[in-house]
């Protein structure tokens, strides 16, 4: 499958073949890429896990690849001077699925790379060049590096950096705009003109909006229409002066980015759930023990935690050795998971995904960024649905069988699911007086729905509650 988002760069493109991520590079760029990958800067960045591990395929491997019909089809019409293989990032994610914390981390990484890559610089600066391995960002687009022109004091991708990192973070900070709302409709971020319209008269003249938004808008509006010459490189005679100017630009961008770091304590509807949930200390400990024992039994390599809240159970799974993808619709909760994973070095990839409205396939011909479900289907050997089923049944009005069908598509083996009966206080609060819609729902009905695709391994009832926790295994699982 040709990888999305890789067709824009004429220098080369990426595709997945037999589970490998390959990059075909044309003759015009192969030598430059090899020079970069052979540089000490690239070696250092790779060893720090900031740059994706990349190796050039040797002649024998290339001959073998060229013999494959699929390779021939994928590279038809291209000029493959060299083929490189990248480390595979297990679960790709996109900026519209990130909380602001992750966009901020991706921005920091981009600036680090732009600043410390020796004689090489970045020719573009977009979050599309970054993926996450757990909570750690990694730069994947090795073709973004180009040799710097000595004496060039202008960093052309600066405007793109502002549009795709600083302005979305600014909009999230000042107006609470969600990154999903920005990046699903704006591939290249926000223009200063769009943010300017949101600003009140006072905000317009206060930093950082003054320099990031207002001044660029006034300059574009009142100045001469810029000609193409504006974008042409005009190196300075004094290379030291150019370096000084560039360094000062990077320092300013870094200071602004630091200023836009999302605060650690953000309140939202669900961010306090771990303190205010319906469990007593004892029942919560039992729930935790059940999940821990199930993890020990299943030993999953990959876990999807649906409705992860602040990531308590994701952390249990990660500590048990699983690679976890934790999803929740609340960006503040997902931000908290990211901090938890980063601080405790847990292998958790937290994403802002509402499972009732998962991110769709986007971009050119809807093929640039595959939707969440197409990436997640069959990608996990255990799925957690803890205190989430009743939200889907009540708030989203999704039929029970549909929920179980989705769970069976996502997991290849186990499902740990909590059943909350209509008598439960939270369930009743969610129904908002429409209790009659759920009169037929009880444990027997739930278990019958489970039996369609799963076997019930065991369950536990939490005393004095209307809640049960189940460990299910898929009937047709690979044994």
């Amino acid at each position: 499958m040709a990888l999305a988002a890789s067709f824009r760069d004429p220098a080369g493109f990426c595709f997945a073949l037999d589970g490998r991520i390959l990059r075909v590079v044309g003759s015009a760029s192969a030598a430059e890429l090899e020079a970069f990958l052979g540089s000490s800067a690239a070696a250092e960045l790779t060893s720090r896990h900031q740059l994706i591990d990349t190796r050039k395929l040797d002649a024998a491997e290339l001959i073998q690849l060229r013999g494959q019909a699929e390779f021939q089809e994928l590279t038809a019409g291209a000029d493959p001077a060299a083929v490189f293989e990248h480390d595979r990032v297990v679960f790709p994610s996109y900026p519209y699925e990130w909380p602001p914390e992750m966009l901020h981390a991706a921005g920091m990484l981009t600036l680090d790379l732009a600043q410390v890559s020796g004689e090489f610089g970045l020719k573009d600066a977009t979050p599309g060049n970054v993926l996450f391995r757990g909570a750690e960002p990694v730069f994947v687009d090795v073709l973004s590096f180009e040799r710097r022109v000595a004496g060039d004091a202008v960093w052309k991708p600066c405007a793109q950096f502002v549009r795709t990192f600083l302005l979305p973070l600014l909009a999230a900070h000042h107006w609470g705009l969600r990154l999903a709302d920005i990046f699903t409709t704006h591939r290249d971020g926000l223009e200063p003109e769009e943010v300017y319209r949101l600003c009140g008269p006072v905000k317009k003249i206060l930093p950082p909006l003054l320099t990031l938004v207002s001044l660029p808008v006034w300059l574009a509006r009142n100045g001469q229409r810029p000609g193409a010459s504006l974008y042409q490189t005009a190196p300075l005679a004094d290379a030291e002066k150019a370096r000084f100017i560039l360094q000062s630009l990077f320092n300013r961008l870094r200071r602004t980015l630091v200023r836009l770091e999302p605060p650690a304590q953000k309140n939202s509807v669900w961010s306090d759930y771990m303190r205010t949930h319906s469990y007593t200390e004892g029942t919560f400990a039992k729930k935790q023990e059940f999940v821990r024992a199930a993890l020990q039994e299943i030993q999953p390599a990959r876990v999807l935690d649906m409705g992860a809240n602040t990531g308590h159970f994701s952390a249990l799974a990660a500590e048990a050795g699983a690679q976890v993808v934790a999803i929740d619709s609340d960006a503040a909760c997902v931000g908290a998971i990211w901090r938890l994973a980063r601080d405790r070095k847990l292998n958790i990839l937290p994403l802002v995904v509402d499972i009732a409205r998962p991110s769709a396939s986007l971009g050119w011909r809807n093929r640039e960024c595959p939707g969440f479900l197409s990436r997640a289907t069959g990608a996990f050997d255990a799925v957690f649905m803890l205190a989430v089923l009743h939200h889907l049944l009540v708030a989203e009005r999704v039929p029970l069988n549909e929920v179980m069908e989705l769970a069976a598509e996502l997991t290849t083996d186990a499902l740990i699911i909590e059943f909350v009966a209509p008598e439960d206080e939270m369930f009743r609060r969610l129904t908002r007086g429409r209790d009659h819609l759920f009169t037929g729902l009880n444990r027997t009905v739930f278990e019958t729905a489970c039996h369609r695709r799963f076997e019930i391994q065991r369950s536990i009832h939490f005393a004095d509650t209307h809640r049960w926790l189940y460990l299910l295994r898929k009937k047709e699982r690979a044994r």
């Binding site: 300059l219 574009a220 509006r221 100045g223 000084f244 100017i245």
Partner: protein, 48 residues
């Protein structure tokens, strides 16, 4: 009234980068002069 069929959106960011670069370029010479004078001063005082 002038109607502009197309105004390059975001070009202001590049214009602003160039304006600041020109200012920082001047700062470069100020810094160099300051460094030179500092060096000279240290040399003179060391001789004394």
């Amino acid at each position: 009234m002038t109607f502009l069929a197309y105004i390059d959106p975001g070009s202001g960011l590049l214009v602003w980068q160039l304006v600041v670069a020109a200012f920082v370029g001047c700062m470069f010479y100020i810094k160099k002069t300051r460094d030179f004078l500092g060096k000279l001063g240290r040399k003179i005082f060391r001789r004394d």
